[in-house]
């Protein structure tokens, strides 16, 4: 019995000492980790599966660690950018075990595919950051997205219009998409030669992608450029904002639900230039100063399955009346009155489906009415018999569905369909188009450095009874860590504008071929980009001698962009230059000439700095455009469009001061466009009866000064909770 107890005691002692005796034998594991046996990989996490033991490789890819484990194990190696490596390792006998780890496969997250060389990505997630929504707000001197984009290369300084004129294209060659859905009438309607502002506030969008050419097959019907806007998702907290200014007043409310999955809200604003016009009369004689009423509402919900639903509605009314001297008859004044009503709704849903598919769907409705009355005013009285009424009504229904999936590990495939029903009416002329588009596109890594985007887009428009197929191609080659060299080609089709379709539908699509080569360098807070392009326009619409597709044209040029947030502490600046050589034969042009909306040289400089001591951000922007051609009827046909306007100079100033108004976050904003008051002439209107008589087309307000106070009321109780802690 005692023997048994003693055996038990001995055993017990032995057991207690077990860890210090049997496992005390240490084994050293060492080795290297490389990519394909050549490039040593630092920062690789090496671990002996199921134990604490392991190490991290040094700069030369070496690692070493000690272990007390024994037997067959798995050695696991992990590092960002590569697929994990697991290999068996035998730990017995030897005091040193050598392991050689070779990574062979790069892990590709398709977010990193950078074959969009021409996209100016304005979101800050993406590496292609050029501007953020905040940049838009501090760059534009009028709160317009398009004005901020005009400081980027490729956009022309066409001050008499609110549209974007890109690389020798007209304003209608740039189309705007919100969450993938086309927006007609992105800007308010305005009388001719008067710039109109955007109907959408820049703060609505988290991302602004401005493509100046060669854009994806996911978009179409724009010969020159696509502006792709993405709306905000869920905010961090509920808030309310009040805007007060001599020219406008507005209020918006954004309410986040308790579970933080739903946000809803809306806003209204009213803009009137009445007071402003009294203090600083405009260059035109307003009989009704411009007034705008805007309203919007939205609901966004994140579902438990990860799906995101967004609904958005935006409506507006505007009204303007002005007198313009009739150049043909002395003493006669044309009174123009324009009333606009518009509505835009957008419903989108996106979610992940089974087996790696992602789905995005959208529905939208667009409605716009312009009522224009033009009457002659003689000796102060309106001549009723001279009244011309024009009622333009357009409506657009559209549906879109896109699915995408990661295929072959290195390729993302997008397939989509768009259906639109467009109705365009002027007085009694009306046409209706059913438009169908389908596209497929792949974005892939061919090798570690070479990426490609290949797309094909098919379109059919019932009004033209014609279909088209447009190929799109882009190749990117990464040179070193920050450089990207890329080339792209694409064909882009666009339906003729509505005023031609009212006359005849026996015409076809206009199209353009883009060839682009670019190089960009993206380092820490510094971006450099140089781009050369050639664009060939085919089948442009001519109105004389007959209305047909007999026009053509070309545009070629070079653009340089440099942005730097680093060299000068606290200062963010960018410089851009565009050289553009373009000629076209279209509309009533008798010969192939440089069109009136193209400046040969355009340059701009933007500089911003936040002065933290006084909580003030000051921004300056300067834009130069060389003289643009205009038609002078006094010249012979051979000299068509040979005159040039004076060069364009515009210095913009923006000051934003952060402050608190009764504890509410507030920003006091002062912006001035054309601060130096340079005379800007965009062109001339000539009298048809007396060609020696002309009128310069100038900005409506020069300079224009805006002062406004934006007050944000945080509708949350954070402060109270903190107070209860003290």
């Amino acid at each position: 019995m005692i023997r048994i107890y003693s055996i038990g005691l001995i055993l017990l002692t032995a057991l207690l000492l077990l860890p210090f005796t049997v496992f005390a034998q240490k084994i050293r594991v060492q080795g290297t980790a490389t990519y394909n046996g050549i490039r040593p990989l630092p920062n690789v996490s090496i671990s002996l599966d199921g134990s604490y033991d392991g190490a991290t490789t040094d700069d030369k890819g070496r690692f070493t660690f000690e272990t007390e484990e024994n037997g067959p194990f798995k050695l696991i190696a992990r590092v960002a950018g590569f697929v994990d490596v697991a290999q068996p390792i035998e730990l017995n006998g030897a005091t040193t075990v050598v392991a050689t780890i070779v990574f062979t496969t790069k892990a590709v997250t398709l977010n990193d595919v950078t074959v969009r060389p021409r996209l100016f990505d304005l979101t800050d997630k993406n590496k292609y950051t050029v501007m953020s929504p905040l940049d838009v707000l501090t760059t534009a001197t009028d709160g317009n997205i398009t004005s901020a984009l005009r400081t980027l290369p490729g956009a022309q300084p066409v001050g008499e219009s609110g549209d974007l004129f890109v690389r020798g294209g007209t304003g209608t060659e740039t189309r705007v998409y919100i969450d993938g859905l086309l927006v007609n009438n992105f800007t308010y309607s305005s009388p001719s030669n008067m710039a109109a502002r955007s109907r959408f506030a820049p703060g609505m969008f988290k991302g602004t992608f401005f493509s100046t050419g060669g854009y994806s097959a996911q978009y179409g019907q724009a010969l020159s450029s696509a502006l792709v806007l993405e709306t905000e998702d869920l905010p961090v907290k509920s808030s309310a904002e009040l805007t007060l200014s001599p020219v406008m007043a507005g209020a918006t409310l954004e309410k986040l639900s308790r579970d933080k999955k739903t946000v809803y809200g809306g806003g209204i604003s009213h803009t009137s230039l009445r007071l402003y016009n009294l203090l600083a009369p405009a260059t035109v004689l307003f009989t009704k100063t411009p007034r705008y009423w805007d309203g919007n509402g939205f609901v966004r919900r994140q579902f438990s399955n990860g799906g995101m639903l967004k609904f958005f509605v935006n409506g507006g009314l505007s009204d303007v009346g002005l007198d313009r001297p009739n150049l043909d008859y002395e003493g006669v004044v044309n009174n123009i009155r324009l009333t606009n009503r518009n509505l835009y709704t957008n419903l989108t849903y996106r979610r992940n489906l089974n087996r790696g598919w992602k789905w995005q769907a959208g529905l939208s409705y667009n409605y716009n009415t312009d009522l224009t009355n033009v009457a002659a005013r003689v000796d102060g009285g309106l001549r009723a018999d001279s009244l011309v009424r024009q009622a333009d009504r357009s409506a657009l229904w559209q549906a879109r569905s896109v699915v995408s999936k990661l295929i072959l590990a290195r390729t993302r495939l997008h397939v989509g369909t768009e259906l639109q029903r467009v109705s365009e009416q002027r007085n009694d002329s009306r046409n209706v188009d059913t438009f169908l588009a389908q596209f497929a596109e792949t974005e892939s890594y061919l090798t570690d450095r070479l990426s490609a985007r290949i797309g094909l887009r098919f379109e059919y428009a019932s009004v033209l009874r014609k279909a088209n197929v447009a190929p799109r191609l882009a190749l990117g080659y990464s040179t070193g860590t920050n450089g990207l060299l890329s080339v792209s080609y694409g064909r882009f089709y666009q339906k003729p504008e509505r005023q031609f379709l009212w006359q005849t539908t026996d015409i076809g699509y206009t199209n353009a071929d883009h060839y682009i080569a670019s190089y960009q360098q993206l380092a820490n807070d510094r971006t450099f980009r140089a781009e050369g392009f050639f664009k060939r326009y085919n089948h442009l619409i001519r109105t004389t001698p007959n209305l047909d597709n007999g026009g053509w044209g070309y545009a070629r040029g070079v653009e340089v962009f440099f942005r730097d947030k680093k060299s000068i502490k606290g200062v963010d600046y960018w410089l851009s230059y565009s050289f553009l050589d373009t000629k076209r034969l279209f509309l009533d042009y008798p010969t192939v000439v440089q069109p009136s909306f193209a400046a040969r040289h355009t340059a701009s400089a933007v500089v911003k700095r936040f002065f933290s001591a006084v909580q003030t951000n000051i921004g300056l922007s300067y834009t130069y455009g060389s003289g643009r051609p205009y038609v002078n009827p006094n010249r012979p046909v051979e000299a068509f469009m040979t005159d040039r306007t004076p060069p364009y100079h515009n210095l913009g100033l923006s000051i934003a001061h952060l402050m608190s108004v009764r504890k509410a976050q507030s920003v006091l904003v002062l912006t001035v466009s054309n601060a130096l008051g340079n005379r800007q002439v965009f062109g001339y209107t000539y009298s048809t009866r007396h060609p020696e008589r002309r009128e310069a087309i100038v900005p409506t307000n020069n300079p224009f000064v805006f002062v406004g106070l934006f007050v944000t009321l945080g509708a949350d109780r954070r402060q109270e909770i903190i107070n209860s802690q003290l």
Binding site: M1, I4, Y5, G8, L11, L12, L15, L16, L18, P19, N43, S45, S47, G50, S51, Y52, D53, G54, A55, T56, D58, A80, D124, K125, K127, T129, S132, P133, L134, D135, V236, K237, L522, N524, D525, D572, F610, S612, Q615, N617, L658, M659, S660, V661, K663, A664, Q665, S666, R718, I721, I722, Q725, L726
Partner: protein, 219 residues
């Protein structure tokens, strides 16, 4: 008798194995935390992050290894000079924080870690990210203080936020000083428990308090 001995031995064996395991965990954590307290370089933080991750992958019920791996990644995000890389460290830190969160839900320390990760993201672009991520960070701190009203670390981080944010955007220098003082008091009064529990923050509280006492701070 024989069975009794065998049972006894088995019991001892089992208890011993468990004890040895928890002892091993405690020792490994203590050893690595000693390094963590003095880790300043990127390579040492990275090594520690990987080590804590390895411990976490073995100790499937412990939240602290992932918490510290997250702290290392968050510090790496703050040390990162390449602004394009900050988010990848912050993403890593966030994935560790959520793993810790799943092992220990409603933990004030983890909420506080999440707040510091949000603040790290602001460095990518102060002007455009400041409003969003400081609000997210403040919210995580609020959560941390709701979960444990006496978490001195959450108080210190909140005090730093209150001190640096502009007035009107949640900044309040007087409140920052009050919070720092309260945090310092809690640090002094709280007995040192298990040395592997979170204990950082005392120096920051003292430093902040010192700034509060300087006359220039009383603007």
């Amino acid at each position: 008798m024989k069975t009794l001995v065998i049972t006894l031995i088995s019991l001892v064996l089992l208890a011993h194995a468990t004890l040895a395991q928890s002892d091993k965990y405690q020792k490994a954590m203590e050893k690595n935390l000693a390094q963590f307290d003095t880790a300043r370089t990127v390579s040492s933080l990275l090594g520690l992050m990987n080590t804590f991750e390895r411990i976490g992958s073995v100790e499937k019920a412990q939240w602290l290894p992932y918490y510290y791996a997250g702290m290392c990644a968050m510090n790496l995000a703050n040390k990162e000079k390449d602004k394009n890389q900050i988010d990848s460290w912050a993403d890593k830190a966030e994935s560790f924080a959520s793993r810790a969160d799943s092992l220990s839900p409603n933990n004030s320390e983890i909420s506080c870690l999440k707040a510091t990760i949000h603040f790290a993201r602001i460095n990518v672009d102060f002007m455009s990210r400041g409003p969003k991520y400081s609000a997210l960070g403040a919210e995580a701190l609020q959560q941390a203080l709701k979960q444990n009203p006496n978490n001195p670390r959450a108080m210190v981080v909140l005090a730093q936020l209150k001190r640096s944010a502009p007035e009107g955007f949640g900044g309040d220098k007087a409140m920052a000083c009050q919070l720092a003082a309260k945090a310092a008091r809690i640090f002094e009064q709280t007995p040192t428990g298990n040395p592997i529990n979170p204990k950082w923050g005392q120096n920051s509280a003292q430093a902040l308090l010192k700034k509060c006492e300087e006359p220039t701070a009383q603007k």
